[in-house]
């Protein structure tokens, strides 16, 4: 991919109209990226980490979530793996000193954020990641960016830039290292939130069922407070907006799921993201249990989002020893930020199935392949195997 011309112009205008090759699609690029942001290898647009390295590397080669973009995480069933992704995203933002706004939930939501344990990049190489330091030297640096991540979807390894920073490597305390792009977190520990953290909460809409409440949009107050918060922050400060469990009946009144309320809300959010495309990002989790993907409501939510991920949990048959790493669910990318908007589907990007695994240490998305035959049999005949074991026990 490195040898392909990035500025390839197809269907140029006539010779009279000089084409302008090589202009990156972002209009203006400040000298230094704001903290926690770095330029995308694809088009130089600034991106920020989602807090999950393997998710970063899936985002159409941008190696992060491009600023001004939104990510919709859909999840059927009653699980809340999407919530885990949102928490990493929030925790990463707090560690980076970004402003955080949580919609529909109070301070409790932030209390459960995972604690930072270090730099995701070094956690990878340190804990026997696929590339050891010595090995890494043998391959050209530009391939290093592409490698390792088995899915081949993103093209770009999340690590690339920060890894080569010698200061980073010398400085073990990565939580304060200025250049770390993505940190690793421990779900079992709680993040201590620095007092200076800029976290705001927007209360959920009132659940009142009286008729005026049905007529007026439950999202109107949310949008007003959000606009106020955005205007209070300096435009140079990166700002993450988090909307957990959108349309969940626990948080939102029934009128929220009316397209005439939800659509204008999502449309305005998209407008806000575009207006503040140099510092705003948004992540929404949407439970699909009540509103499946084939409803026009959810389809519109998807059309108005920049990236769409669906997490489909796999039924966990039983806990089998040695199967800790078994994927907990499948991941589908329905739309990729930036590229998806331009018309390039996810089709061109991936031919492989993706699955996610949540362990204590991380949320990881990787290529999904059926385990080797014998292992699979173990998996399927778990009961039979146990039967055998008991037989042995009996013989003893």
């Amino acid at each position: 991919m490195s040898f392909r011309k990035k500025n390839l112009v197809i269907n140029r205008g006539p010779p009279g109209a000089p084409s302008v090759p090589g202009i990156p699609s972002t209009p203006q690029i400040p000298k230094r990226p704001p903290p926690g942001a770095r330029p995308s290898p694809i088009n130089g647009q600034y991106t920020t980490s989602t807090g999950t390295p393997s998710l970063d590397s899936l985002l159409a080669g941008h190696a992060g979530l491009p600023l001004g973009c939104s990510l919709l995480i859909e999840e059927p069933g009653t699980t809340d793996f999407g919530g885990a992704l949102l928490r990493y995203y929030a925790a990463e933002g707090i560690v980076q000193g970004h402003a955080i706004t949580v919609v529909g939930f109070g301070e409790n939501w932030v209390r459960d954020l995972p604690a930072v344990v270090g730099d995701a990049e070094k956690a990878d190489s340190g804990s026997g990641g696929k590339l050891k330091e010595g090995e890494r030297m043998k391959i050209a640096w530009r391939y290093e960016r592409l490698g390792e991540f088995g899915s081949g979807i993103g093209g770009s390894r999340a690590q690339s830039f920060t890894r080569q920073d010698p200061k980073d490597i010398e400085n073990p305390d990565t939580s304060t290292a200025p250049h770390a792009f993505c940190h690793s977190f421990d779900l079992t520990k709680r993040l201590t939130i620095p007092p200076a953290a800029k976290i705001s909460f927007i209360p959920p809409p009132s659940q009142s069922l009286s008729s005026p409440a049905i007529e007026t949009s439950p999202f109107a107050p949310i949008l007003t407070s959000l606009t106020n918060i955005i205007n209070q922050h300096p435009p140079t400060l990166l700002h993450r907006i988090i909307i957990p469990s959108l349309l969940s009946p626990l948080v939102y009144p029934p009128s929220a799921s009316s397209p005439r309320h939800l659509l204008p809300f999502l449309h305005s959010l998209r407008g806000l993201l575009r207006r503040h495309s140099s510092n705003l990002t948004l992540m929404i989790s949407l439970p699909l249990e009540l509103y499946p993907r084939d409803t026009s409501l959810v389809r519109w939510a998807e059309i108005l989002s920049d990236g769409i991920i669906e997490l489909t949990p796999l039924p966990q048959l039983q806990d089998i020893k040695g199967q800790d790493q078994a994927p907990q669910g499948l991941v589908k990318m329905w739309k990729l930020p930036v590229l998806g908007e331009k018309g390039g589907g996810v089709y061109g990007q991936s031919g492989e199935n993706l699955a996610f695994t949540v362990t204590r240490k991380r949320f990881e998305i990787k290529a999904y392949s059926l385990p080797p035959m014998d292992e699979e049999e173990n998996g399927h005949n778990g009961g039979a195997e146990r039967g055998k074991a008991t037989k042995v026990d009996i013989e003893f």
């Binding site: 699609s25 449309h267 389809r299």
Partner: protein, 238 residues
Amino acid sequence: MPPPTPLAPYTSPPPTPHTLTLITSLLPVPSTWLTQHLLSLHLSSSTSSSNPPSTILISLTQDQNFHLDALKKLGIQTQTLQRSTRFTFLGINDIQLDLPALSKTVREALSRASAGEEEVILMLESVDILLSSGAADINGVMDLILYIQETATHTIVSVNADDPLMRNEQHAALVVGLGHIAHRVFALRGLDTGVARDVSGVLRVTGGGGSAEGGKEVLYFVGDGGGVEVFERGEVRS
């Protein structure tokens, strides 16, 4: 001259004025690239003639930078364009989801644009969101589009035609209704045979209810940088 593509015979402006071109897209195969392609053809074809057409681009889902960046890559001098009074762009932040407000804006832009002698091209992107968000009923949207069609020389309208949306009676009626009055319909869809690394989707061009044109089906690919390649099925590509 731009390299000849299989699409070239179908992208030239329709011979008769006051015609409508309809673009339908699906979630995995958005039509933004086609909008930009058609727009760039209109804009660049005008540089040779003395009277470039006035262009109005109204997008209910995209912002100005998105389209201008893409046009820049297609070789359009966007800075000149932005300074020109002949080019009006209204993006997601300039328009509210409100039919009376939109139609007022459209009428103003059209009356400004059609003050001169030159042709007027109006593009309206994702107009169907007006219907789905309850901002307008189908009659309101159709009235607006018919008004635009009558006033502008060429009108290009894009709508989303995903299955879940088409199950909505009003939405289906809008898309089908537009198909009937359209001179030409560009329908985008995914590859029928599954996914491919080097094909983004299928583009089907047919004459709408308003014409007797034959049809054509081509494949296209949108690269990482946003460059688009259009080719025939089975064509050997470099």
